[in-house]
């Protein structure tokens, strides 16, 4: 079937088998391997992309269903201005470890912030509850999304700052060390 899809701002016209999943189309036809696949049951969410701005699990969308839509994958987050605030925040807040769930988590975070510029912790946790992470216990993912929200509001000084703290000791150690 013929489809037309805009992916990360680039228009693609293609002929695909009706059964091809959007995740496979993005990964194998377009080479956008930042979108991952982690389960067979729409449970883990690592394949999440934005379809017309809304998070969808691309392993449960046929490529033909994405006809005439705008898709954003992790590769589309960075712009001419540099990294997106959500990307900076994930690094700054140590919001990732193995990196496998990260592209999806960042896209869901981005979509959340666009809807709700100042999400509280519960709202962030609810928003990412369709996405699993096995490494982080979600603690720093939540922090990263909230930090990116603060940055996007221009009130970064109220939350964790997104300046390059590369060589600073961890500000998160609250340990009473004796």
């Amino acid at each position: 079937m013929e489809i037309t899809m805009t992916v990360n701002g680039v228009a693609h016209k293609d002929d695909v088998e009706p059964r091809v999943l959007l995740a496979d189309y993005l990964r194998t036809r377009l080479g956008l391997t930042g979108t991952h696949i982690g389960c067979d049951t729409t449970s883990c969410g690592v394949c999440t992309v934005l379809m017309d701005g809304t998070p969808v699990k691309s392993c449960t969308v046929f490529a033909v269903q994405a006809d005439d839509t705008e898709i954003t994958t992790v590769e589309g987050l960075k712009s001419a201005d540099g990294l997106h605030p959500i990307q900076k925040a994930f690094k700054q807040e140590h919001g990732l470890q193995c990196g496998f769930c990260t592209p999806a988590m960042m896209l869901v975070g981005k979509a959340l912030i666009e809807q709700n510029p100042d999400p509280d912790e519960d709202e962030v946790r609810w928003a990412i509850s369709g996405n699993l992470c096995r490494c982080t216990g979600y603690v720093n993912i939540v922090k990263a999304i909230r930090a990116a929200a603060a940055e996007s509001r221009g009130t970064a000084d109220e939350g964790p700052a997104l300046v390059d703290l590369t060589n600073e000791p961890s500000p998160t150690v609250s340990a009473p060390v004796g």
Binding site: R19, V20, R27, T28, T33, G34, T35, H36, G38, C39, D40, T41, S43, C44, V74, E75, L77, K78, L83, F90, K91, Q92, H94, L96, Q97, C98, G99, F100, C101, T102, P103, V124, R125, W126, I128, S129, G130, N131, L132, C133, R134, C135, T136, G137, Y138, V139, N140, I141, V142, L165, T166, N167, E168, P169, S170, V173, A175, P176, V177, G178
Partner: protein
């Protein structure tokens, strides 16, 4: 010694104790990580595996004709074909054998029966449905206790001399001393508990791309491998390929947690297929395949007894356990001990008598027994002793914190010889507990608990403690090997003329942040800024030999090797500095990054000057260059510890419970990068919560796996996962070059008992003493009803 260690180096050098953001994140946040399934090679074919739908059956026939005829199918591989190449069976890491593709029988649901190689993965999956296998079903064993009964059907009839379903018998400690301790005891407390079967389930499943060049015989195998070097040697031994022609490349790994330590049949079949077809062959598991066939964890049926004096002092411990090892004994553990390091079960407590008896059983379930975020059965051990401590506290009516205090090994007793043969390196157990209790506000919580009970609240409060001791960092070469390979590790450091460096390691990160932390060790020892050091791992052609990353062994072993190789270069650097400064070596002092003349600090040379001189102006007779390699054989294991306090609220009407607080105080020795250490603990606490609350794999009586996908095998999301509060004490390991102990698994090991103890604590006044994990609401409700009657 317990100290707060302020960084000794400047933020520019960024040695130990700094928390630089991670180097590796730059690619991950841009979707530029490079995982196995991202690899595309010219002419690459795709493989899919046909798995048995039944758990125990004789294979009568396999008809592949229809599948072979499907357009796009290149080959269909069966066990018969593998047997022609002597590859139908392979050795496991536990000295057993495992079928690669079944030839005689299938022994668990999901076992590999045949494989299709096709032009696309969609075609390969289509073809699986066209293979016709005729099975003659046999009786099924899913309970290891029934497996061990004398008249049970024999599962491993392939093994010569095997007449029953027992796969091992193992004992540790001393029976006589322990029997005497029990004879003298005022009280004996017992606990029967099942640590349920679980699965590491990293979000990236297992897979490989095997690429054997038909012209040269060179094999490039891209693999989700936590231990690429060990796997290369296993491939050489199993497949008979010359080892110099095998290159295992482990690219970015999307989580491992022990799941990617074993060699799986899929790797072997894909490699054989590439060899036979002359094309690269990719195989990537589906999630369901991952859960039903690759290394599971736990599944221990444990009976524990503690002998106590009336004042709460422990006199002895007795454990009898049956482990369910599935159809093949493939515990991915490299010790001579059949139950791994389970004999750490004596815990953080001081007593002289212990006896452990373990029996392993074959069942018609998936093989495994991997160390899921755990150092070879330490999780089961820690859970049993910490649950027994809760039972003892309740039976003796002593506060559980106080009972632990009365029995802790004291800091002056280290190094401490345990009754099962370990020598604990260092610990300050009481301090860690005090910090945790103080942080959680223990006394206030106990008051609130009493008040709620007095008021007759339907929602009760429970406070659960776990003061665990781990044993990690396998290992020393006396006790640890994989198929004879001693468990050392290695580091190679090459400093370039401009003072920048590359560090090559035999281990392999799966998210632990090696590219950031190991440069910090070099920075500490050699003064080269951490940001000037690139790390290379996972390619057996370019990195020195090592045994891999699992069981929290990277920092204890490869981290030590890194410190040692940096020290070697510092000593060479001292000679070069003496030459440059025209001084004798003895007259030089060192500060991070710089040699200078004693008493004349301004007369000095930087490490960068020294590196440049190593290539341009070295002393006559000196070997040029500035690089070295170190292979480190640890003198002992390391023993991280901690105290966790979980505070839960239990709804007695529904049995539902939620975590109100989780305070975790860890002591992993010297912390290289506190930010990364804390991230590791967060992850472990979440996985411990998962096991205590929802995550388990079970089987119905017919041997069907319940938990074969993420809709049935429940992984907590951000919404269910509790919030965590961390604390730390620092007690360096006395035998590790930088005093570090390893931290990746502490929280998975320590936290399950804390959560469960908290639920039991909430209900203890009703008479509830045990609920097995996962502590599901209906189990809680049932325990309350049973206690009432």
């Amino acid at each position: 010694m317990t100290t707060t260690e302020q960084p000794r180096t400047s933020p520019e050098i960024c040695g130990l104790g700094h928390s630089p953001r991670r180097i590796e994140d730059d690619r991950f946040i841009q979707g530029a990580g490079h995982y196995v399934d991202d690899i595309v090679l010219p002419g690459m074919l795709h493989m899919a595996i046909l798995r048995s739908p039944v758990p125990h059956a004789r294979i009568v026939s396999i008809d592949t004709s229809e599948a072979t005829a499907l357009p796009g199918v290149v080959a269909v591989v069966t066990g018969e074909l593998m047997a022609q190449h002597n590859l139908a069976w392979m050795p496991t890491m536990s000295g057993d054998t495992q079928a690669v593709l079944a030839t005689d029988k299938v022994r668990f649901q999901g076992q590999e029966v045949a494989a299709v190689i096709a032009d696309t993965v969609y075609t390969a999956w289509d073809a699986l449905e066209l293979i016709d296998v005729d099975y003659e079903e046999l009786p099924v064993l899913v309970d290891p206790r029934k497996s061990l009964e004398p008249d049970a059907v024999l599962i491993r009839d392939d093994k010569e001399g095997q007449t029953d379903n027992q796969c091992y018998h193992w004992e540790s400690g001393d029976k006589g001393t322990t029997d005497r301790a029990f004879a003298e005891a005022d009280r004996v407390v017992t606990l029967d508990t099942h640590y349920p079967r679980s699965h590491p389930a990293p979000l990236e499943t297992c897979g490989c791309v095997a690429d054997i060049d038909p012209a040269t015989g060179h094999a490039n195998i891209y693999m989700t491998s936590q231990a690429p070097h060990a796997h290369r040697t296993v491939f050489a031994l199993v497949a008979g390929l010359p080892e110099e022609k095998i290159r295992i490349i482990s690219p970015d790994i999307g989580g491992g947690f022990g799941n990617k330590v074993p060699v799986y049949p899929g790797y072997v079949v894909a490699t054989a297929a590439s060899l036979l077809l002359g094309h690269p062959v990719k195989w990537v598991e589906s999630r369901s395949e991952n859960l039903i066939s690759t290394g599971f964890a736990r599944d221990y049926h444990m009976h524990g007894e503690l002998a106590l004096r009336g004042d709460g002092r422990i006199l002895g411990l007795r454990v009898n356990l049956i482990s369910d090892n599935g159809a093949f004994f493939s515990d991915a553990q490299p010790t001579k001990f059949k139950a791994g390091l389970f004999h750490i079960v004596t815990g953080s407590y001081d007593y002289t008598a212990a006896h452990v008896v373990a029996d392993g059983a074959y069942t018609n379930k998936a093989p495994g027994g991997v160390a899921y975020r755990c150092s070879f059965r330490v999780t089961e051990a820690s859970y049993l002793i910490e649950r027994l401590m809760e039972s003892a506290a309740l039976e003796l009516d002593i506060d559980p914190a106080e009972l632990r205090r009365r029995n802790f090994i004291k800091s002056e007793q280290f190094p401490y010889a345990s009754p099962t043969g370990f020598v604990y390196d260092s610990g300050e157990y009481e301090r860690a507990l005090d910090v945790a209790l103080d942080q959680v506000g223990y006394d206030d919580l106990r008051r609130e608990q009493r008040e709620r009970r007095d008021r007759g609240d339907e929602t009760l409060l429970g406070i659960g403690i776990a003061s665990f001791t781990e044993v990690v960092g396998a290992g020393n070469s006396r006790d640890f090997d994989i198929l004879g390979l001693k468990m050392f590790d290695s580091a190679e450091l090459r400093v370039h003329p401009t003072g920048k460096a590359i560090l090559k390691l035999g281990v392999k990160s799966q998210g632990q942040g090696h590219e950031t932390t190991y440069p910090q060790i070099v920075a500490e020892e050699l003064g080269i800024p951490a940001s000037h050091i690139r790390v290379e791992e996972g390619d057996t052609d370019t990195t020195p030999y090592g045994l891999g990353t699992y069981a929290s062994r990277s920092t204890p072993v490869a981290g030590a090797a890194t410190a040692m190789v940096a020290r070697k270069l510092r000593e060479k650097g001292r000679k070069i500095a003496a030459h440059l400064l025209e001084a004798s070596e003895e007259d030089l002092d060192w500060e991070p990054g710089r040699f200078f003349v004693k008493g004349a600090k301004e007369r000095g040379v930087t490490i960068q000057d020294v590196a440049f001189a190593a290539y341009t102006n070295f002393p006559e007779g000196m070997e040029p260059g500035f690089e070295g390699v170190h292979y480190y054989d640890p003198p002992n294991m390391t023993y991280p510890f901690g105290s966790y306090v979980a505070v839960v609220e239990v709804d007695t009407g529904t049995g539902k419970w939620r975590v109100r607080r989780m305070v975790a105080v860890d002591d992993c020795g010297v912390r290289i990068n506190p930010m990364i250490v804390e991230g590791q603990i967060h992850g472990g606490l979440a996985e411990g919560f998962a096991m205590s609350n929802m995550q388990f794999i079970t089987f119905d009586d017919s041997g069907n796996c319940i938990g074969s996908n993420f809709m049935d095998y429940l992984i907590p999301t951000a919404y269910e996962t509790p919030r965590f509060e961390l604390g730390a004490t620092v007690t360096p390991s006395p035998h590790h070059p930088i005093g570090a102990k390893g931290v990746g698994e502490s929280a998975t090991v320590g936290s399950p008992a804390a959560y469960v103890n908290a639920v039991i604590d909430a209900l203890s006044h009703l008479g509830v003493r045990n609920i097995d994990m996962p502590v599901l609401p209906h189990r809680v409700w049932q325990a309350i009803q049973e206690a009432k009657h």
